[in-house]
């Protein structure tokens, strides 16, 4: 039995002839927050899509000692990995409650919608409202809520701060901290290096699809100027 909750071995992901992920090895232990740092196009989102099988990839993905490389996204979610995709993606013509229900039926019903309303009281106030009428920050909360309702152990978070006001970003990062304290393992892809390292235990620095540096977040903070 390995210590690692997630292990990625030699992942390669291509878009046509462009190699977005070039033989990446990466691991996460249970309870960690690990950050993927890198500029736009470094391969952070592609790596997350590869893990979830949203995009085809080669290499191996091991989750809880089981090979999940070839499983469909749907099966991967039911095994305990949820993704919060970039761009706070929600189903805008459906109500807040209906969006949350979509997550609820995907997983193992470990948590209830009431728990989500505790994290994000605003979603309870707006549960009947069409999701498309929510603000960007509220849509991001809804996206997180839906992912949580699938009952994951590991959450992949893709650029959570993108396009959101600083105050809203603060709230989102606070929630992620709280989720981690409550036992969720988090793999975070984020361009905001400072915020990301404040939150993370460890970090990987990516450049043009390769890991060029890895270490604890505190080590990275010292030399953060190198990667900005």
């Amino acid at each position: 039995m390995s210590d690692n909750l997630l292990e990625i071995k030699n992942m390669e992901l291509k878009y046509g002839s462009i190699r977005a992920v070039k033989g990446i090895d990466l691991s996460l232990k249970k309870g960690e927050i690990v950050s993927l740092i890198g500029s736009n196009g470094a391969g952070k989102s592609s790596l997350l899509k590869g893990i979830m099988n949203i995009e085809k990839k080669s290499g191996k993905v091991i989750f809880k000692d089981k090979d999940i490389t070839k499983l469909s996204t749907e099966k991967i979610v039911s095994r305990g990995i949820s993704i919060i995709p970039e761009g706070h993606l929600i189903f805008s013509s459906m109500s807040v409650w209906e969006n949350l229900q979509l997550g609820h039926y995907q997983g193992n019903n470990k948590i209830d919608i009431k728990n989500i309303y505790e994290y994000f009281p605003i979603l309870e106030e707006r549960k009947e409202q069409k999701a498309g009428t929510l603000s960007g920050g509220e849509q991001q909360m809804l996206s997180i809520g839906r992912a949580l309702l699938a009952g994951p152990e590991l959450i992949l978070v893709d650029e959570p701060s993108l396009g959101l006001a600083p105050q809203v970003v603060n709230n989102i990062f606070k929630i992620m901290k709280r989720l981690n304290e409550e036992g969720y393992t988090i793999l975070l892809a984020e361009q905001n290096v400072k915020r990301s390292l404040e939150l993370a235990d460890r970090a990987y620095v990516l450049k043009t699809g390769e890991i060029i540096k890895e270490g604890s977040a505190s080590q990275m903070k010292v030399k953060k100027w190198m990667y900005l």
Partner: protein, 292 residues
Amino acid sequence: MDVFIAQIINGLSQGSIYVLLVTAFNLMLLVARIIQFAYPQFVVLAMYASWLVLEKSGNVILAALAAIAVSVLLNLLSEPIFRRINNIEKIDINASFVASMGLSMIIVEIMSHSINNGFPVSFPDYWTGENIIDFNYINIGRGELAALLGGIILVALFFYLLYHTHYGRVFRAIAEDRKTAKKVGLPILKSNLLSYLIAGILGGIIAILFSMFLGSASPWLGETVALKVLAVSITAGLGNLTGGLYVGLGLGILESLAIGYFSGSWSDVIAFLLMLVVVLSKPQGLFGAALE
């Protein structure tokens, strides 16, 4: 006035059949992303199945079950063909249209060569039923009433499924944004399959109601109906379920009034001309297309 009322009732019954057909057509368009032109042919083949059973056994329950079984089977058997065209990775609505036209032609040929020597079939009176209301010009047959009530019940059930059940919500999510649905791991392939199954069951029931309403079927019935279903869907707004409801009923009434006041042979021309005007002035349809 009697003629008007009689034609309105007849039109609503005919319209209910269109609504049911266009609802199933739109369901497959929204969830599986196919233009299933062959669907009305499946319905007609299911009508033939019930006619064959009635001919052999005279048992109405067996005939009804045969219609549903054939429709479900045909829809499910077509799923792997369309999955080759539209899978989770790529979507090609145009190719699905061409493939379904091919399927449609094959079914017409089968029906025109193999069943009743290609002649239209006529359903027995105990299937179509007597007039329930017979007052001056107002004659309402069992078939008309069945189509009208069946249409209302089935559409109500369908909308309940769509808005109040888990799979309905998944259908709507996939219909709204397939890419996001894929990203968050919603069961796209399972939902596709389920949409074929629902369309299959619905198709079987439509076959029963349609044969009770018309009292006959011919190998070419499906082609005319398929054109109308496509026209209704485009006029309402491709994939717009509520729009399909109004335009389907509207077409039924329009055709029926044209038959009542002009000539039966002009009813299609009048209906299609009006739909042409709508599409020219509102290319996205009267109620807006649900698909880009």
